[in-house]
């Protein structure tokens, strides 16, 4: 891994991916102590308690939904999809960063990823879990959702494979499964470490079971590395395919504003865009609170910011092409759609979207801001808002005014829409709180490979 060293050296010229002075032992100590020895702070309890309450609010909103029906939301005819699908696409998008960081950057040998991949993957899982709630509950009769799966039954029913929703079912469930496997695989060596270091008997047993007999032998490592690489190879196309398929939900339909071929790349870029924003929004407070500045260094923040800048421009290109085609394409429905986005009742939200996703993120060009965790945090939140608005504009604004003027309508979210949306944010954060408390949020063994000690031995 000579190039590794080179990478580290080159990186050192800017800022390091791991602060100097660390040893194998200090890395292991530092990360595992958060889980094993460090006392749980009051702040953690407060944060977890609050987000847990939000999760309960989500459950309440969903229970009421099951009792009454989707009519408690603001959806209607023509706007058959509202917050539920907006949130679904948003969360799925956020869930892209984890796998991208873990798999694609692994294959591209971007070893700076090692310190952020673990919680990015966890974030992916939780985001996909949040996303997964929506397609399930947004149906009129959620107790029959299983009809979307192809399973042998006496009713001789079979799903309708021409429907993009059907493809969604496979894409999202595959993605969730692979992400879960990949995340778990990555955790196995660290489970071993935790098992060895845990002083609590139950923790030892649980971590022991989770480590699946990991002994750290050369043979283990050999097989582990191959399997991990293979999984990374499997996960890589998924990063591209999931949001491509999600974008098909719209691109296959004939609704103006949905029916465009640019959607797959534009959606994937948008997903990575929002995913990295979420990674930053989580990494910045975590490294501050747990004193992990040594491992999640400014370098990581800068790299993430650069990725956001790049994907942000792909997204901007998408908007530009949409607008251009609306004008140039000569399709009367697209032209009206463009006009409505710019001047219609939702114009404010379209303008906000352009500001949040294109205009404001341009501050990332300024190195000073890229180096400032505070400003990165602010910009990330702006981008996340913008990406949510993007889905809102695509879904709601397109549906609100389509082909027949007589059927134009407006969408007003209800309190139940908001409760469900905010509830999933609560659930996501509650899961993150649990994660940082009971699992090593940074990959211990991968961090160790970043140390000069590791490189020297290799040579």
């Amino acid at each position: 891994m000579a190039d590794h060293l080179e990478e580290v050296t080159v990186a050192n010229k800017r800022s390091p991916v791991i602060e100097p002075g660390h040893t194998f032992a200090s890395v292991t100590d530092k990360i595992s102590s958060i889980v094993l020895t460090r006392p749980t702070s009051l702040g953690w309890f407060a944060g977890f308690g609050f987000t847990f309450l939000l999760t309960m609010m989500l459950l309440f909103a969903l229970s009421y939904l099951f009792v009454k029906g989707v009519g408690i939301w603001g959806i209607n005819i023509p706007i058959g999809w509202g917050f539920a699908i907006v949130n679904f696409v948003w969360w799925i998008g956020i869930g892209h960063a984890g796998t991208l960081i873990s798999a694609i950057l692994l294959l591209l040998r971007q070893s700076w990823r090692n310190s952020i991949n673990r919680f990015a993957e966890a974030m992916t899982l939780f985001a996909v879990a949040c996303a997964g709630i929506f397609p399930g509950v947004h149906t009129g009769r959620p107790w029959l959702d299983y009809w979307m799966f192809p399973y042998p039954n006496t009713m001789q029913y079979w799903p309708q494979f021409r429907s993009p929703l059907m493809w969604d079912v496979f894409a999202v469930s595959t993605y969730f499964t692979i992400s879960l496997l990949f995340w778990f695989m990555g955790l196995i060596p660290d489970f071993g470490t935790l098992r060895d270091r845990a002083e609590n008997k139950y923790a030892r047993i649980i971590y022991g079971m989770l480590s699946m007999g990991w002994r750290g032998s050369a043979r283990h490592w050999h097989r582990y590395e191959s399997a991990y690489l293979l999984l990374a190879g499997l996960a890589t196309p998924l990063v591209l395919s999931v949001h491509t398929v999600v974008s098909f939900d719209f691109a296959i339909a004939i609704v103006p504003g949905w029916h465009t071929t640019i959607f797959p790349p534009y959606f994937v870029a948008g997903a990575i865009y929002s995913g990295f924003a979420m990674v930053l929004m989580l990494a910045i407070p975590i490294r501050k609170i747990y004193g992990l500045e040594d491992f999640i260094t400014d370098r990581h923040l800068q790299n993430s910011a650069k990725v956001m800048l790049a994907t942000g421009w792909i997204v901007a290109y998408g908007y530009a092409i949409e607008a251009f085609m609306g004008w140039y394409g000569g399709n009367r429905y697209d032209a009206t759609l463009l006009w409505n986005r710019l001047h219609g009742p939702y114009a404010f939200w379209y303008m906000s979207l352009l500001s949040c996703n294109i205009l404001i993120p341009q501050f990332l060009w300024i190195r000073k801001l890229r180096n400032s965790p505070f400003w990165l945090f602010v910009l990330s939140s702006v981008i996340l808002t913008g990406m949510w608005l993007e889905r809102f504009v695509i879904i709601v604004v397109s549906l609100s005014r389509d082909f027949l003027n007589s059927s134009w309508g407006m969408y007003y979210p209800t309190k139940w829409d908001w409760m469900t949306f905010i509830g999933t944010i609560g659930m996501f954060l509650a899961a993150m709180f649990l994660f940082v408390r009971i699992l090593p949020m940074i990959s211990i063994f991968e961090m160790r490979t970043l140390l000069p000690e590791a490189e020297v031995k290799h040579q």
Binding site: N76, I252, G409
Partner: protein, 1014 residues
Amino acid sequence: MKMEEANLKPKREDVCPGKKNTLDRAAVEQQLAATQGPEYWRSLEELAGSPEFQEMLHREFPKGASEWLDDVSRRGFLRLMGASLALAGMTGCTKLPVQEIVPYVKQPEQVVPGVPMFFATAFTLSGYTYPLLAESHLGRPTKLEGNNLHPASLGGTDLFAQASLLGMYDPDRSQTISHLGAIQSWAVFVSQVKGPLAVQRGLGGAGIRVLTQTVSSPTLKDQMLAFKAMYPQAKWHVYEPINRDNVLEGARLAFGEPVETQYHLENADVIVSLEADFLGAGFPGNVRYIRDFAKRRNPDADMSRLYVIEGNPSGTGAKSDHRLSVRSIEIDSLTRSLAAALGVGQGPALSGDQAKFINAVVADLQKHRGSSVIIAGEHLPPAVHALAHAMNAALGNVGKTVVYTDPVDANPVNQVESLRDLVADMRAGKVDLLLIMGGNPVYDAPADLGFADALKSENVALRIYHGLYRNETAELCHWNVSATHFLESWSDGRVYDGSVALVQPLIAPLYAGKSAHEMLALLVGVSDASGYDIVRAYWQKLHTGGDFEAWWRKSLHDGFVDGSAYPPKNVPLKLASLPAPASVDNSIDVNFRRDPSIYDGRFANNGWLQELPKPMSKLVWDNAVLMSPKMAEREGIHVMEVVAVELNGRKVNGPVWIQAGHPDNSVTVHLGYGRRQAGRAGTGAGFDVYPLRTTNTLWIASGGKVTKTGGRYQLSSTQGYQTMTTTDGDLRPIVRNTSLDEYRKNPRFATEEPPPPRELTLYPNYDYSKSPDAWGMSIDLNSCVGCNNCIIACVAENNIAVVGKEQCVKGRHMHWIRVDAYYQGDRDTPKAYFQPVPCMQCENAPCELVCPVGATTHSSEGLNDQIYNRCIGTRYCSNNCPYKVRRFNFLLFQDWDTPQYKLMRNPEVTVRSRGVMEKCTYCIQRITRARIDAETASVRENRKFHIEDGSLQTACQQSCPAGAIIFGNINDPNSRVAKLKAHDRNYGLLDDLNTRPRTTYMAEVRNPNPELEA
């Protein structure tokens, strides 16, 4: 268990009413004597009609249980708890009683379970009867259709007749006879009125007053005459808020006698409507007029031309070739100018646009002497009607397009004066016994009469209300006798042409009701008369020659008395001087109009009608202050802002709706809303404008004032955007239209841009060659008059839920077919177009492609079938439907519990539950029934399976008075629909999307006067 006699325990006799009094044998016998025919009873108490039993029937819990207000002590609570638990356990062991159901021992002839039967009956609205056919499923009427044998219907109906079905099953109807709110029996009522009647007998009936609505029933008239013979001093008053006083007074002015005017629009080349909404429901004869009018709107034949001069936009105005929007108050003088130009009387000189319009109309009328017609609306003053008669006479139209007959109204008095007399008599204490039969004068009488106050005063000793609802008027009466619905009773009535339609019951009365005939019989001393006997006896009396029984059976079967139409009457014109026209100033006029959906308020509790979008504004569940865009802009009033409308010191508040095409300086308000006691649907909907309506300003009032109040009120319109030009200025080809001249030059104007080729689809085309039938529909936009009848027909046929205003505001109404109204051009003088939109049943259906569970699939006959059981409710199909004709059950919209509604529903159509998508099925149940019939016939007669063209009609098609909707097999090149689809005017809505809709439209052609176009 030890059960102590606790204080808490209600007394035994309170729980069980029978224990209190021993049965009064005399009462039972009296009751037995009073009942007629086989009546079933459960106990002697019921038979005796004892108040205790009645109370038990109508209260959920026996007395005591529900009024148990004592505090419960801990001991008492525990004791009861223990007892309840023990009892709950015991019920678990109880063997449920065996209830046997017994099939018919003798199957009635023709009754085949699952096969509906049709009976002729008739619906009466303000004296005008509409002949109907009622579909009956095992004794339950489920759908009303027009009687195709009768020339007034030819199969069509209007929306009030259609929706009256829901009225019968209305759970809020008056269900019992009551005295001061306490339930009583008919026998008690009879015994209570006997005394006062006997007293009146001695006085010659001087203290009896009967107030009815407009009556056209010959039997009822005959009964009235008998009653008057018995009580010569008694008076019969008539009042309806939507009366035809102006029409009758106009006829009196012109001819010296009241006559009925009928129009023959099939002979009319030029029609001039003076604010007559003759294509709208509620206009007498509108069903037939729509058909005749539509027939003459065929641009390939001799197309008629329609001029409309009106003060508030109507469906008739929308269909006109030229519409002059003027304030209603100006139409009087405008008519005089028009008449003067035609050589009748004097009129002021006109200038500007009005002069141009009137000159063109005059020229056109002169060119079509004998084949033109001038129709005046019932809101306009008598002078206008008189002038219309005179103009029709001057143009030689009488006998050709205009026919006069005796009035349909059995008592053609001036109704306002009639009511005024009654109020004066009540005030003067001359009324001892007042019988109000139907109507709701407390709510809808002119405000200046003070009817309610006069009624409330103790001057009127005995007040009896006989009606379908315990409404505002019923509340102020001592006795309430619930009326039977027309579907529950025998009667008759006159159609607009004077012919008599017979009213047959379709079901035994749901509640303890009496028909009007039975009530009147009581007045002449017959307390146990049955409606059947009364009506039959009347006709038997009239019948001459031949076998009465055979004649009676035939008349009942046909639904009307053959040859009973009034013959044309020759009435010489005696037009002398006319009253001066009302002065026109620049103040704001207030126009009162019947509501297009709920009429005068009598249908306020009819959910189908409340949720029916009004033809022009598409508002549901509310009335509004309609105002022109110009006026709203000038006054700075926005839509849905609440304004105060002030008139002669009276004031009501209502929300504004800006109505394109409304004239300036005038507002229109619709009657019938703001009911205080209508029922679950009607109470509180909209605002009441009757307080502004006075005897001299029944329809048009000047000197009004409109001021902003600062409030805002949410109105609900089911149409999102009412113009075809989008916000970015693109005119979408939705209702494709042109003028007659252009059409002759370029007949294929509607399909100038051909739809994409058949092959341009990712998935293979469906093959229908193996299927004998491929269903398709053609809707002629030229014929459609936007009457909304198809919507109500569809609602009744397909068990469509009423969702209520809140849901409509959210955009969740459930209609499978809607009628879009578009305005084009200047907002103050726009052209308007109607377009009914059912499911297009696309060949390349966007909905089918996207359903993940295959709940919407393409049938072998080309329908997009919706499988409710399979639907999980993703709503993707609706999103992808470019026509937005799919409707979703966002909540549990259907009422699954009210027993009356269970009876009402069409058993052939699934009642949808929450969470499933639904949409137009082309009435697949009717297709299936036709297929089964055709298969049976093909086997029986050993011939090829074939569904005869025209033998199968969808509900919308069946009800359409214009015949605008044609449905059939497009595989058969000789079918009517296939021929229409081959027509030049045929086009597919949004066919540029390559959806290849099965429902196509015949593009609209207007016939403007070239003189006015220039």
